[in-house]
Structures are given as structure tokens and as C-alpha cells.
Amino acid sequence: MTIDSERLRKTYEQLKADAEAGGYHLNPDEAWTLGLIEGLLTNEDRYGYWACPCRLASGNKDEDLDIICPCDYRDADLNDWGACYCALYVSEEVLEGKRPLQSVPERRPAQRPKAGPRPEPAGGIRLWRCRVCGYLCAREHPPGVCPICKAKRERFEPFVLPVSALPGP
């Protein structure tokens, strides 16, 4: 891996600012975090997208969509383990030293549904849901970038809010 140090530093600063703006935290161990960002940039050069540095990418973007950083599993792992699978992101508890950092078991299913549009449930209010952070928006089209976690448009899925979930009159 040979990633230009200026590119690495710039990416780190940007990622850190984005994380904090969205209520997330990068791992405060800077050497660790820079090592992972180096891995992300290596994967950007290798595959054309930010495949998770701690998982084996297929090289096919559609198949790897769920493990493009930030991955679909980050928030659940932050909740359950205090860190994402790579420990690039950590929870506030870990950040404040109230919880030890440990390695995180893989929750990505070995057998995954084939990539492609999923069938939409009928009836209700049509929304878009960010698969990474759960952000919902009621727009005709998903946003280009998730305003919360900065995941790109292709990470949004149709989400139908059943009318029964709405408060009555």
C-alpha cells in the first residue's frame, strides 16, 4: 500500500468532520484510524469504491454495496459492540473510555439476497430509507448523499410506512 500522505491526511480530516457532524466518532487511536483509511483509499484505487478494509471485497460493486464504508452493519455493531467491524467508528462510550474496545464478530450474512431492487410492499406512504443509518425522507427521489451518514444515493431503499402506523385523527 502506498497512499500519498497528503491524500491520506485530507481524507482523514474530511471523514472526521463528517462523522462528528452526523453524531458519529472515528476511533481516537489516530494510527489505527489512519491505517484503515489507507486501506479504504487502497480499495478505492483497487475497486473504484470504498470497500470495507476488513472484509474481502468481490470487486463487483453491486455485490459489495452493503460493505461500502460506512457499511450497512455499522450502526448495529456500534450499538452492540461499541465499534464497527473495523473499529474505524466507535461509540461515545468507547470514545470516553467507559467501554473497552474489542474485536467485533461478523454480522454480514454469508448468504445474501441477490442485489437488485427489492419488492415494494403495497399501500402506505412511500419514503426512502438509508440502509446505513436508517434516515427516512419523503421525497420523490432519494438524496444524492445521506445528510446524516453521508452514504451515497445507491444505499437508499424504498420504504413504505403503513397507514396503520400513523396516529389516528
Binding site: 489505527w32 487502497t42 476488513c54 474481502l56 473495523c86 474485536s103 464478530p105 461478523e106
Partner: protein, 89 residues
């Protein structure tokens, strides 16, 4: 599932992964640089990658990295407690 049979520890890892870096450092501390084998799966040519993943599926239904194989042992993820148990401190 099969059990690996080998005297010399073998680590499968990813060159981009932080936990793999930590595992490598641990094994180097225990066995010295040349005291174990190391394969970075992400750096292998596609066909070889497939072959290795098929091989790893003999030991676990869902391979993840780092994966350290030793005699009768298959340790998945960076597990210092397991390394100590299997290899001694």
C-alpha cells in the same frame, strides 16, 4: 467442518485490515517474522482467491479475517485470548 492439521501456524489476512495487522504483530512477537506463514487473500489473483476461500470454508461456514490456522485450531477474528490459549504467551 474439518479441523486444520499443521504444525506451523498459518494466518490468512487482508492487507488493508487493522485487526489483521494486529494479529500479524502478535504472531511476529510470538514466533518471529519467519516463524509462521502469512497469506494476504486480497492480494491473490482472482482464481487463487476463490480457491483459498473454498479451502477456508472447509473449516468454517463463514470465513472472516484474520483467520489463524494451527494444529486442530481455527481462530477467526483478532482473539488475543485464543492466541494465548493455543500458542502460549
Amino acid at each position: 467442518m474439518e479441523k486444520p492439521t499443521r504444525q506451523r501456524p498459518l494466518m490468512y489476512g487482508l492487507s488493508t485490515c487493522g485487526w489483521c495487522r494486529k494479529a500479524r504483530t502478535w504472531l511476529e512477537g510470538r514466533f518471529g517474522e519467519g516463524g509462521f506463514d502469512l497469506i494476504y487473500v486480497d492480494l491473490l489473483p482472482t482464481e487463487e482467491k476463490m480457491r483459498v476461500m473454498d479451502e477456508l470454508r472447509k473449516y468454517t461456514p463463514s470465513p472472516a479475517f484474520p483467520m489463524v490456522l494451527a494444529d486442530n485450531e481455527c481462530i477467526i477474528g483478532y482473539r488475543e485470548d485464543e492466541y494465548r490459549r493455543v500458542f502460549g504467551a
